[in-house]
Subunit: 504 residues, 2 copies
C-alpha cells in the first residue's frame, strides 16, 4: 500500500501548496517511539538539557523569516501575530532552560533517620524523575506556541523526556521546519537528534497513545479528538497520564454597576478579544452574561459595532470554516435567539464575525440543562460570542451552575469598592475555571510562575497546566531512595547538597 | 426489595458475628454524596479543619480498646499489630493537621505585573483549592491506616474535601465505629457530620465513582477491583482523577557479594518481612532474585527455616484464603518450580506460609514474557515469596525488564564499597518502583515528608503517593486570580501576606 501523502494547504484558497511528508505507518510509529526511548538517558544531564533548550530557541529565532512565512501560508494567521507567537515560543523555551537549571521542579525532600518514630523512620531522599517518552499532539490554532516547538514539547524536554510529536494536519510544513530545527539544536548540544521525532497522520496519533513505550501524552485540540485519545490512554493495559486541553466556553459576567460605569469600553474590549486570531483562541470569551436594561443595551451596541467593523476572516482550514458556519446557523435558529451582527459564511474562503443574543431565562431549567438551548453553552470555535441578558443575580448563578469546566472565567465589575455583585459572582465563577480574571480579557496567556492554563473538564483532562513553569510537573514521577549509600545516590540527593539545589 | 444486610464475619471461624448495617441503594448513595457536597464549604476554614483532624485523632485514641477489639474480631490481625496501626493512624491525622496549618500545600505563587513582558504580564496569584467530594475505597489489609480513618480520608479532609467512604466488607463493624468517631469529631469541631459519610456494598462503590458530584477517588485494593473503578472513573461524561493503589510484587535483588557477606541475616530478614501480617502487606517482598551457588543456597536455607518456623495464619477472609491456596498451587505446578517450604492450606481456616524457587532462566525469553511462568511475576496476596536463582548480571536485568510497576524495589548489597553489582542493579530497579531501598525490607511505610508510596502501574494508577504529606496534592487543583482587587481575594493571596504563609 502506498504511503498517504501529507499536503500543506493554503486556507486562503483551499488549494494544496506542496507535499510535505507522508503519513506514518504503524511500523513508522513503532520505530519513532523506540528511537526516542533508546536515547532517553542522553537527557539525564540537566546542564546539557538547558543548553539544548536555549540552542533550540536560538535556531528558531534565527529562522524567524522562514518560519513566519511558512506558518502564514498554511494558517492565514498573518505575520504580526506569528511574529509575536514565535517570540513567545522561544521565550518559553528559554524560560524552561532556567527552570531546568533552578531545579526546584525536582521537588527534593530529605528525611534524616528517626529510629524513635512510629514506625521508625529510615533515611529517605525523594526527588522526581522523568516518566519516559512523551507523545505530544500539536494544536491547530497556535502553529508554534502549542505545536511542535510549543509548551508541551518544551516542558517535556525540560523534564528529561524525549518527545514524539504528532503534527497537526493544518500546518505540516511549519511542523517539519520546526522539528528539523529542534533536532538540529539537539545535535548542536551534543544530544541524539531522536530526542525529538515528528510523525504525521490521524492513525499515527491513535497508535502513538497506545504504544507500550509511550509514558505520557499532552494534547491541545477539540473535545471529540481529545476525548478519543484520552479514552485510548485510559484503556491501555497500563494506562498513562493524558494531559489534554479539550475546549472552553470562557464565560464572562458583567455586573449592572460595571455596564453603568463603562458599557462602551467593555463592549469594545470584548469585540477585540472574541475576534482576536479570528476567534480561534482557546481562551476566546464565548459566552457573556450581561444585564438587561439600558446600560446593558449600550454595552451590546458597542459590542455589535466593534464586531461589525472587523473584516472577513480566514479560518485555519476549510473544515473549521464549515463547522463554524453550521455551528452558528444551528445556534441562530434556536427560539428567541437574535443576531445584532449575524455570524456566518463570507466568500468561499472566509467567515464573518457575529454576536448572538438570548434571554438568560432560556438557559435555566430544562431548556438550558438538557434542551436545545444547551447548545448555546457549548464552545463554537471561531469569531462568535453568545450574550445572555439577565434580570437577577439568581438567574446569573443558576446559569453558571449549568456550565461545563473552563480555562478561564471573567468578571467585569465597577471600579467603585461597593459593587455588591462582585463577591457572589466571583464565588460562582471560581469553581468553573482554572483562571479567574477581573476587569480584563482572557485572550493572551502570560508565561509566568503563577499562570494556570487548565480547568475542570473539558477544559483539561487533568488538574495540570499546559502553560507556565509548573507545566513540567506533568512529565515527572517521584522516587524515594531509602537507606541508600551516598556512592549510589544521584549527586542531587547527597549530603552536603553538592549541586546547591532547593531542598526540603 | 429488602435491603441487603451487611454482616461482620470472624475470619478465625468463618462465622457471622453480627449484622452491622445494610448495603446502600442507589438512592442512598445519591443522598450520601449530595449531603457531603452540601456541606463542602464548611471545610473552607483551615483552622477548623486542623482542629477537626486533631479531635478525630483524640477520639480514636480514646476508643482504643474498643477499636482494637472490634478490628481484631473481624480481621484476625491481632492486638499488637492493630495497636500499632491505630497509633500510626492517629499520628497521621495529627500530621495532616500540621500540614493544613503550615499551608505549603496551597502552593501559593504570586507574579506581580510586568507590562513590558511578551505578552504583557498582569497581576496573577495562584493557589490550590479543594476538588470537591472525594470517594474513598477502603482497603482490607489495614482496617485503620488504609480504611475509614486512614490516609485517603485524612488527606482529603486536610485538603478541604468532604469524603464518602465505601467500607471494606471485611471489617464493617470497625468501619461503622470509626466513621461514627470521625462524624463525632466533626460535630465537636463545629462542622456538619456529613463531611464524613460511610456507605456499604459493592454496587454502592460502583455508583459512587459514577456520581456527577464526586470529584475524585482514592482506592487501595486489588488490580481487578481497582481497574474496574478506574475504568468507570475514566468513562464518566466528565472523567475524574482516580488515585488507586492496585497491586505490587515488590522485587528484591541480592548481589552475590551480599549473600557472601550475610546470607543468613538476609534470609531471616526476608522471612520476617514476607510473613508480616500474614503476608498481607501491599509492600510484601513477593519476588527475589538470588544468586545460584553456595552462598545463595545458605540464604535460601535461612529463608526456608524462618518461614517454616512461622505458625499457621488466618487471612483476612475466606475468599482470600481460597485465592491464596489456589494461587500457590498454580505456581507450584509450573515446570521447574520447587518448594523448600510448601505454602498452602492449613486447617479449614488457616494457611501455611511458604517459599517457591525457580531458575531465573525460566523467567526470561518467551517463558517469562508471555508463557505460563509469567504467573510467578504477578502478586500472590498472602505469605509466599518466589525466589529466582540467577547465574549472571545480564539475567537479572533481563528478568527485571519484564516486571510490572511496583510500590517498592529492594537491593541487598555488601557493606563493602566495592560491590560492583550495586550500581547497575540499582539503575535497573529505579524505573520499576516508587521507593527503592538498600539493605532493608519494604514492609513498614514511614509517614514522612520524603515518603513516596506509589509507583508505575499497577502499583498506582497515577504518579501520586497515598502516604506522606504530599498525599494531599491529589485532592486539589490550582486556580489563578488575575488582576483581582484585594477585597475580593482570599486573605491567603493578599498583599503583605497577612496569614504568613509560604509563597513563591
Amino acid at each position: 500500500m502506498a504511503a498517504e501523502p501529507v499536503w500543506s494547504v493554503d486556507p486562503r484558497t483551499g488549494k494544496p501548496r506542496e507535499q510535505v511528508a507522508v503519513e506514518a505507518t504503524a511500523e513508522d510509529v513503532d520505530r519513532s517511539v523506540r528511537a526516542a526511548h533508546e536515547v532517553r538517558e542522553s537527557l539525564a544531564d540537566r546542564t546539557v538539557r538547558a543548553a539544548f533548550l536555549r540552542t533550540a530557541a536560538d535556531l528558531l529565532d534565527g529562522a524567524h523569516e522562514q518560519i513566519v512565512a511558512t506558518a502564514d501560508a498554511e494558517t492565514a494567521l498573518g505575520p504580526v501575530r506569528l511574529t509575536g507567537e514565535l517570540a513567545r515560543t522561544t521565550a518559553q523555551l528559554r524560560a524552561f532552560a532556567e527552570v531546568v537549571e533552578a531545579g526546584s521542579f525536582l521537588d527534593i525532600r530529605i528525611d534524616l533517620p528517626d529510629p524513635g518514630a512510629t514506625p521508625p523512620r529510615p533515611d529517605m531522599r525523594r526527588w522526581k524523575i522523568p516518566l519516559g517518552v512523551v507523545a505530544v499532539y500539536a494544536a491547530s490554532n497556535f502553529p508554534l506556541a502549542f505545536s511542535v516547538p510549543g509548551g508541551d514539547t518544551a516542558s517535556a524536554l525540560a523534564a528529561g523526556c524525549p518527545v514524539v510529536i504528532k503534527a497537526h494536519p493544518d500546518h505540516p510544513a511549519t511542523s517539519e521546519l520546526c522539528a528539523g530545527l529542534l533536532r538540529g539544536a539537539a545535535a548542536k548540544a551534543g544530544l541524539p537528534e531522536d530526542v525529538v521525532v515528528l510523525v504525521h497522520g490521524f492513525d499515527a496519533g491513535v497508535k502513538l497513545v497506545r504504544h507500550p513505550l509511550v509514558a505520557a501524552a499532552g494534547f491541545t485540540g477539540s473535545v471529540r479528538g481529545g476525548r478519543a485519545l484520552f479514552d485510548a490512554a485510559a484503556a491501555r493495559p497500563a494506562p498513562i497520564p493524558f494531559h489534554g486541553e479539550l475546549g472552553s466556553l470562557n464565560p464572562v459576567v458583567l455586573t449592572p454597576a460595571a455596564v453603568e460605569e463603562r458599557a462602551e469600553e467593555i463592549g469594545a474590549g470584548l469585540a477585540g478579544s472574541m475576534t482576536l486570531g479570528a476567534g480561534q483562541f482557546c481562551t476566546k470569551p464565548g459566552f457573556v452574561l450581561a444585564p438587561s436594561g439600558e446600560a446593558g443595551d449600550r454595552f451590546l451596541d458597542a459590542l455589535a459595532a466593534g464586531v461589525a467593523a472587523t473584516g472577513p476572516a480566514v479560518l485555519l482550514d476549510h473544515r473549521m470554516r464549515e463547522a463554524f458556519v453550521a455551528g452558528v446557523a444551528a445556534r441562530a435558529a434556536l427560539a428567541g435567539v437574535r443576531a445584532p451582527v449575524a455570524p456566518g459564511a463570507g466568500d468561499a474562503h472566509t467567515v464573518g464575525a457575529g454576536v448572538l443574543v438570548v434571554d438568560a431565562a432560556r438557559l435555566t431549567g430544562s431548556e438550558g440543562g438538557s434542551g436545545d438551548h444547551h447548545l448555546l453553552l457549548e464552545e463554537c470555535f471561531g469569531p462568535v460570542t453568545v450574550v445572555a441578558r439577565y434580570d437577577s443575580r439568581a438567574q446569573v448563578t443558576e446559569v453558571l451552575a449549568g456550565l461545563p469546566g473552563n480555562l478561564t472565567a471573567t468578571l467585569h465589575i465597577a471600579d467603585a469598592a461597593d459593587d455588591e455583585d462582585a463577591a457572589p459572582f466571583l464565588a460562582a465563577l471560581t469553581p468553573l475555571a482554572g483562571r479567574v480574571l477581573v476587569n480584563g480579557w482572557p485572550t493572551g496567556v502570560a508565561v509566568a510562575a503563577a499562570q494556570h492554563h487548565g480547568g475542570p473538564y473539558p477544559a483539561t483532562t487533568s488538574t495540570s497546566t499546559s502553560v507556565g513553569a509548573t507545566a513540567i510537573e506533568r512529565w515527572l514521577r517521584p522516587v524515594t531512595y531509602q537507606s541508600t549509600p551516598a556512592r549510589l545516590l544521584p549527586p542531587e540527593l547527597r549530603d552536603g547538597n553538592p549541586l546547591g539545589l532547593p531542598r526540603r
